[in-house]
Amino acid sequence: MRIRDVVIGANASMYYKLNFRKIKGVYYPRNTIEVIAAIRHAQSNGFTVTPKGGGSGLSGACTGGDDERVMISSLQMKDVLTVSKDQGYMDVEGGIVIDRINEFLDPMGMRFYVAPSSRDTATAAGVLSTDGGGNDTWVNGTMRDNTIRAQVVLYDGRLITVDWEGVKSNDKALEAQLNDIGVTLHDVASSHGTLGFITEMRLKIRPKFTEKLVGGLAEFSECNALGKALTDMIDRQSPIRYGEAITIAHDDVREGFDPPLLILEFPEDYVDEIKDITDYKPLDAAELARMKNIRIKLPKRNPNVGVQFALFEGYGFHGDSLLKLQDNLDEIEALLNSHGMAPFGKYGHGPSKWYLGDNTPTYGLILHSREIRPEGKSGEELLNVVLEIVDKCEELGVTPKPEHKWPFSDVTKKKRLEEIRQVIGDGFNPFLLSPECNDVLGSMV
């Protein structure tokens, strides 16, 4: 075992104590040919394959679980391949970080409109694998909405290109099989590395918005009012360009603000509409930048005493569960408290959008959650709390882990992936589909 085999386990989830001896190879390929070579090495030795991007996700998918496996990092596949400003797309390698995409596009007056909080680390392929979004997903869609096609290397080394029409491959029999079962980008989105290694992507790019935006801060006495305001924005399809809610923030990091609150940025023409929905306080550019900074750092900051961790990555409140946001949060908080979890922060995108496992778009509030890491709890105990939260979410009509939902709840998505894997092979990240998945994850907490 080499130290690079250990360090590949570094990731932002609470699943980070891997059995390193099961890692049989770590690769940082620089092109598709090297990816294929790495996969062939795995296949010929009977190892599974786990793709890894920036490691900023919270699902634990990039750990590969407990299989004897080869880990393939995309971090050296970070080039922009082509840009067509006129046709509104760019081709990139899968390991390019979202912020780098926009640094590249900025001088051209173009932008890639997907903004996860981890955009300084998250790779394009990684964000598609979780179907991540961000503070402007409500108007710009999730990663799948902004992806035109993806090239994927399968476990047997064959290449497929998946777009919204279907699959293309040099292997016509494979192409036909996958098209027969209707494989599209919907399937690659949120597949958590279970299908293959994404080497290249064609992404939608658009001219930077030139409309004049204004900022505002809406403060609420309790979260049902916040849920009502978000519901109204969704019903009226208010063009919120940036919408971030904070419902709880630890004293050490809230910088004088008193959640619940909603930070907003929207076109100047909609001032009256937003005023009609909620009594917000206008923010000038500097105040807005400060609020955005407070928000974006919440997932990374720590209380003065103790360490924050992501026990449960997030909650998708929509419909009635959004209107009863406070009541539902009270129930979730009570459950957390009963297990000795002290809240650190709950914050997230609203209004926002996510897809359910059957690819139905859903609109509401994605609320991320951080707790203060309790002392003396075993991994198994912590995972059991996670599973209890999943049950609670289902009881409350809340989507558990709306962006990084794997592997907890989405039976429909699991079934679909299994169907596809019957065609393409099951060598990629099989632990996520195995009945032992929860036990494996629990062992890594």
Binding site: R4, F20, R301
Partner: protein, 367 residues
Amino acid sequence: MSYDKCVRCGACLAFCPMFDATGEEQFSPRGKAYLLQVMDQIEDDEELGKEFRRLLFQCSMCGRCEEQCASGVDLLKVWHEQRAKAVEKAPEEFEYLEPLKDALANVKNIYGLAEEDRAIYWLDELEDEIPGLEDRVYKKGKTADNMIFLGCLMSFRGSQMDVLRSLFKTLEKLDVDYLVMGADENCCGHPLYLMGDDDGAEKLREHNKSVIESAQAKNVITCCPGCLIQLREHHNLEKTEALHHTQFFDRLVEAPPKYDEAEQFSYHDPCELHRILEIKTEPRSLISKMGIEFKEMDLSCCGGGGLLRMTDPALSDKVIQLKAAKEGVKHTTVITACPSCREQLLGQDLKTKDIVELLSHTLGGSE
């Protein structure tokens, strides 16, 4: 243990010059912090331990990871402590550092040259050009308002001679009351500090402190940010202010003549100067007072710090090569204010000038 506060978000990967140069996660701050977090799982593996200890010294200690870390992990302190532990646990793996330690213990400089030679090479070179320079060398009983602390690189390396010439000429031109510590200067202790040997560093500092105090200096001035870290933060000087030469000259010079050469300039801000010592305004103020227009280079490391030139020279070279290529500075003059950065830039055949070279030129003292 503050590395426990690392949430492994990976934001540091975007800025770490070691990760940039190697492309592998074990060289990144997250990778190293992660290794500490899972150390209980791997500490029994001797080979892994050895690899980890080597990794700790494959870092230029530029501090950008700590600056960027939203989780508040004091990474420089972590690396410092871990380096000390590494050397203590497996001294045989660091035998290559022994000649340096021996040199510092015996002759108090990093080159192992005789102590009295500290004021030989540059004095031989410059005494004709700068009359009375020999009298500026400190001897017991002499006092001055300002004590010049050259540091090892500037005392012994010919590649620093132009900076020294400009420094002394500028001091003379401005009628500054100064002495140079000369043979009474010990190494500041920074190299030992960087390998976690605080006790060894302290012995060197004690001597320096007594000399500076006996000279009744109000200021101790150095061109070397590494030396300044030691002088300002660790020498416990009570009546003497430790200053970078750019700070000293920026206070002293209000309106120097404008720089009259038409050159393209870039400014490479030394990591230890701006990030660790937080001296950011004075170098730029001084350059601007001379009317020099310059392009700000990215605040990334040149690879010259943290003992990296000694512990992994190939990696150090790769860091500066990548930086030079990214910044496109081949046809510009890179202004800087650190002898280590200067060595890195010269090593890539880049044209470089210390700020005091520019100042000396405008004051008519250099050429």
